[in-house]
Each structure stands twice: as structure tokens, then as C-alpha cells.
């Protein structure tokens, strides 16, 4: 890809893409030979651009690499000290007293994620079906920006909303303090909705129009087409969307820390305070030192691994999906 070619014909296209703004403002004189379609200056600019984009890509890779290295180096000693088994399965997280078990945190993170998914995924898929199959273009242009806007709200605003508005209402309706899984589920369900909805809508739209027409031609109703034809056809894309939603739910921190209540135990009810893998870092980092700080980096390693598992599973599922069709 060192020089530009028209992707359709493979012919060099010197005029359209090979010029950047500078040459447009002050065009180079054509080369002396009159035969070459790409001037030397253009060639170097192309090469420079190529390397620029390579650097951009490398920054992203280096960022991931450095973070993983740093977190890994900082957190590794805790596995050596308390043992990886004890760290993962210990039932008590009380670092200032020498207990480094993150099992309650793992369980709580999974509980928070699962509930958010149960509430949020059907809502999101419903929204996507509505946008892709049901809504008139006019309605769609109204609903879609609203859904997209949900994704743009900073998570701390969700948390603040949850803490100040939602929590007191839940405290009044169900007793207790209003902190707990239930409150977190409601907030997270709304937060993962735009992620899942947007990707599900993409998946539905990529189902060829001919399949819809064939379904209708067979006498299927709209509902039958959506339920029996479109959703199964878009299955892989929808599963990807849900996994991305899971990643967002389990990694969410600011919104959760404000409404979870931060008790370091597995809660014995959905209206009882709890602490997750992400929120423990926010809560403990200001004062943690020594092994406690190391343990927090250990928690970060676990989070990193969980998120890598999500990304990997999306890749595997997508490949599997391609093999199928």
C-alpha cells in the first residue's frame, strides 16, 4: 500500500488521493518526463503518511502493552505472597488486617453484570429491532440520537443521578439505605443499552433485504419475520453486542461506586451494600500502602484478564459465525 490505487480498478489515481491539502493550495509542476503519474514529492508524502498511521497504531498497541506490563509488575508480588489460589478464592477482603481474598469482589462483579444484562439486553435488543424493522424513518431519526446520547453521558453523571435521585426512592420503596445490587442493576442496564442496541441494529441491518422479502413472500407476518428469521440470522452479531455490553457492565466504576454502598461482603439481599472489583480500587487507592496497594494492582490484573477474555470470546464467536455461514 505504498502508493495509492483505485480499489476497484487497481489503477494508480494520482490526482484524487495522492494530493494533500498543501499540494492543492500550491500544486507541484508535473514531472519533467511527463510519463510518471506520481511525482517524487507525492511519493514521499505517501510514505510519510503511511508511517504516521503506523505510529498511531503503535501508540495504541504500546499503550495496552505498557499498562499490562506496569499493572502486572506492580501486582505480581501479591500472588507470590498470598498465593494465587488464596487471592482468588479467599472469602475475606480486609487488607489492613492481612486478608487478601477477592472472591466476594469477583462474585459481586459477576452479580452486578448478570443482573444488568438480564434487564438491559432485552431492552436494548427490543430497541434495536424497533429502530431497524419497525420505526418509520421519521421516528427513527428521533429515537436513534436519543439512544446514542445515552452512551455519551459520562458515567459519573449516571452515578450522581443514581445516588441523589434513584437511591432515596429505592430506600423508600424497599427499606434499607437504597444502596445495593438492585440500584446498580437499574443504572447499569441503562448504561449498557446504547452499546448493545447500536451493535444489534447494525447486525439486523446487515441481514440482506432479500431474506426479509423471502420471508414475507412465504406469508410470514412481521413478528414471525423478526422472531424466526431476522434475529436468528443476526445471532452472531447480537451475541457480540451482548458480550461488549458485559464488558462495559463489569468494567463500570464511577457509576457503581456511588450506588453500591461498598460493603466488602457478598450481600445477603439485593438491597444490601456491596463492593466490586472496580470499585474496591477507587475506594482503597487513596490510603492503600504496601501489600494493600500491591493487592489492588492484583485486582487490576484480574480485571484486565476478564476484559481480555471478553474480547477473545468475541473474536472466537465471530470466526465461528463466519465458518457457519
Amino acid at each position: 500500500m505504498s502508493d495509492s490505487h483505485d480499489p476497484r480498478t487497481g489503477e494508480p489515481i494520482p490526482e484524487m488521493c495522492a494530493d494533500d491539502k498543501a499540494t492543492m493550495a500550491a500544486p507541484n509542476p508535473p514531472s519533467d518526463s511527463g510519463l510518471s503519474t506520481i511525482s517524487k514529492a507525492t511519493y514521499f508524502k505517501e510514505a510519510a503518511l503511511k508511517n504516521l498511521f503506523l505510529v498511531c497504531a503503535c501508540v495504541a498497541v504500546a499503550g495496552v502493552g505498557l499498562i499490562f506490563l506496569f499493572v502486572g509488575l506492580k501486582g505480581w508480588p501479591i500472588f507470590a505472597k498470598v498465593g494465587i489460589g488464596e487471592f482468588l478464592t479467599g472469602a475475606k477482603w480486609y487488607p489492613t488486617k492481612g486478608f487478601f481474598g477477592i472472591l466476594p469482589l469477583i462474585v459481586n462483579s459477576l452479580l452486578a453484570m448478570a443482573g444488568a444484562l438480564v434487564l438491559g439486553a432485552p431492552l436494548a435488543i427490543g430497541t434495536a429491532v424497533f429502530l431497524s424493522e419497525v420505526a418509520s424513518p421519521k421516528v427513527r431519526e428521533l429515537v436513534r440520537p436519543a439512544v446514542e446520547l445515552l452512551a455519551g453521558i459520562p458515567s459519573v453523571v449516571y452515578g450522581f443521578f443514581g445516588l441523589v435521585l434513584l437511591r432515596p426512592i429505592i430506600a423508600q420503596l424497599f427499606g434499607g439505605l437504597g444502596f445495593g445490587l438492585f440500584t446498580v442493576w437499574l443504572i447499569l442496564a441503562v448504561m449498557i443499552l446504547p452499546t448493545i442496541a447500536a451493535l444489534t441494529e447494525d447486525a439486523l441491518r446487515s441481514v440482506p433485504e432479500g431474506i426479509r422479502e423471502a420471508s414475507y413472500a412465504m406469508g410470514a407476518t412481521k413478528w414471525q419475520t423478526i422472531w424466526r428469521v431476522l434475529l436468528p440470522a443476526a445471532k452472531i452479531g447480537i451475541i457480540d453486542a451482548i458480550i461488549l455490553g458485559m464488558g462495559r457492565a463489569i468494567g463500570e466504576t464511577m457509576a457503581v461506586v456511588m450506588v453500591a454502598g461498598n460493603a466488602r461482603v457478598i450481600p445477603d439481599g439485593i438491597f444490601k451494600p456491596f463492593l466490586t472489583l472496580t470499585t474496591v480500587i477507587v475506594m482503597d487507592m487513596p490510603y492503600a500502602s504496601g501489600d494493600h496497594r500491591t493487592a489492588l494492582f492484583g485486582v487490576a490484573i484480574i480485571l484486565f484478564i476478564i476484559s481480555m477474555l471478553f474480547v477473545a470470546s468475541i473474536r472466537v464467536i465471530s470466526r465461528f459465525g463466519k465458518g457457519m455461514s
Binding site: G175, L177, G178, E252, A263, P286
Partner: protein
């Protein structure tokens, strides 16, 4: 996920670097144009605002204030890296031999607060202890309505938590199922909005949205704190190595002046030291 990890990393880096920054505050100890005050985060609001006013009143003088915790403050004044070590606790037995002079600068009482709708108006210290250990879980066990108790605790970084734990729990642990909130304001607003909630905050932060309980029959107010009858109170200290002199003396006198005591100290939610009976 990646972006979130980056944020965590940034926080982590900041947290790693901050203790390093406070180490910078050692400069110019000998020179009398600059003064270093380190220690308790509870005392920080007083020391910091007083430092600004002091610098405004004494052009050319600099007061560097850092909140690193009471123990670290005492350590740093003892080994000479700072001029004043601030503390929200008394000296421990092993610190008595360091030759530190104690100047008491303010009083802080800790109030046990409940929702105003809660008919319970007082508890014994033992009951408070049992409640925060999770042994008493319903208000009816202490003469209130049949209502589950919602425990609100502070995070472990809190000096208030440390003091409360020492006063009330002794060597016992807090109930781990209690909600843990990172600030006085949050504790107050949560207690104000949940009928069964109970928490503890500095007396200075108690307002009409919550009700401060009497402890052992003694109401929590300025008068009972001043005469020393209210059991949950502590003194905030400035420790100096030897008798304070020069700029150190001037700054301490400034903090003890009526002006600072009646504005800065009260604004920060504490009681002037002159109110103290002892």
C-alpha cells in the same frame, strides 16, 4: 475497557507520586521565611485556611501544609523534616519520649446521627457499639420501632472512623456488611434520606436534616463537649519539637487567635479550643 484501565492507571500513578510530592515540603526548614506543617487530614482544613490567612497577613512568609495522616505528621516533626506535626489523636506511649510539645488547637466531637423520623433519641455507648458491630440489627431492640437498622460507616482512610472505632468499639471490628461511604457529606445525606439509617459524623457537620443521638444520656452539643461530659470527643493537636519559637510560634499563636478560632475552626466543623473545659 482499555480506556477505563488507562484512567485507573492515571489514578494509580497520581497516588504513587503524591506521597513523593509531600516529601518536597522539607525545604527551607532552617530559614525563618518558610514553615512546614504536616500531619492529620482532619486538621488539614484548619491548618490550610489558617496558612493562607497567615501568609496574607505576613507577606514574604510561606507556610507549606500537607495532609499525610496523624502518625506520619508526628514522625516527621520528631525527625525534624517538618516544623509542626498535626494530629487528631494523642501521642501513643512509644511517642512520649520524642520530646514533642503539645499545643491543643481545637475540639472535635463525633455525633451518632439518625434520620429525624426515628423516635429513638439516645443510646448507651454499649448499644452504639453493638449496633456498629452488627449485634443489634433492629431499632426495636433499643426501644425504637420495628425497623431494620441501616449501618453507614466511613472508609478506612477516615480519621473520624479511626476515632469512633477507638471510642466506641475498642478492639472489636465494624460490621462488614455496613455501607462504606467516602465522605462526611455523603453519610449525612444518606442518613437524612433513609428511615432506618445510623451513622457518625463530626458534630460540626450535624444540621437539621439529621438527628444527633444522646450518648449515655448526654446530648451532643457544644456545651456538653465544652465541659467534657459528652463521651465522644477528641482534641486536635499541633506538635512541635521543643517549645515553639519564631515563625512557628507566630503561626501557632495565629491559629489560636480568636479570629481564626471563631471563623476558620468553626467553619471547618470544629469547636474552638477555648471552649474546652480541660
Amino acid at each position: 475497557m482499555i480506556r477505563r484501565s488507562t484512567v485507573c492507571l492515571a489514578v494509580a500513578i497520581a497516588a504513587v507520586c503524591l506521597p513523593g510530592l509531600s516529601g518536597c515540603a522539607k525545604a527551607d526548614v532552617a530559614s525563618q521565611t518558610s514553615l512546614t506543617v504536616t500531619g492529620s487530614t482532619t486538621v488539614l482544613p484548619i491548618a490550610e485556611v489558617a496558612a493562607e490567612d497567615f501568609q496574607a497577613a505576613n507577606p514574604g512568609k510561606r507556610v507549606l501544609v500537607a495532609g499525610v495522616g496523624s502518625s506520619a505528621g508526628i514522625e516527621s516533626v520528631a525527625n525534624g523534616t517538618s516544623d509542626i506535626g498535626t494530629s487528631s489523636r494523642d501521642l501513643k506511649p512509644e511517642e512520649k519520649s520524642l520530646g514533642l510539645i503539645d499545643t491543643k488547637i481545637a475540639l472535635d466531637a463525633i455525633a451518632v446521627i439518625v434520620n429525624p423520623s426515628n423516635p429513638v433519641s439516645g443510646l448507651t455507648k454499649a448499644q452504639v457499639s453493638d449496633i456498629f458491630q452488627g449485634k443489634i440489627t433492629n431499632w426495636k431492640q433499643v426501644g425504637g420501632p420495628d425497623l431494620e437498622i441501616g449501618l453507614v460507616n466511613r472508609d478506612e482512610a477516615s480519621g473520624t472512623r479511626e476515632a469512633f472505632s477507638k471510642f466506641v468499639l475498642g478492639t472489636s471490628d465494624f460490621d462488614p456488611t455496613a455501607a462504606v461511604l467516602p465522605g462526611t457529606g455523603q453519610v449525612r445525606s444518606v442518613v437524612a434520606q433513609a428511615a432506618g439509617a445510623v451513622g457518625y459524623i463530626s458534630l460540626g457537620f450535624v444540621d437539621s436534616t439529621v438527628k444527633a443521638l444522646a450518648v449515655d444520656g448526654i446530648p451532643a452539643d457544644e456545651k456538653t463537649v465544652a465541659d467534657g461530659t459528652y463521651p465522644l470527643w477528641r482534641t486536635l493537636h499541633f506538635f512541635t519539637k521543643g517549645e515553639p519559637k519564631g515563625l512557628v510560634r507566630a503561626y501557632i499563636d495565629f491559629v489560636l487567635s480568636d479570629k481564626i478560632q471563631n471563623t476558620v475552626v468553626r467553619d471547618a466543623g470544629f469547636l474552638p479550643i477555648t471552649e474546652g473545659g480541660k
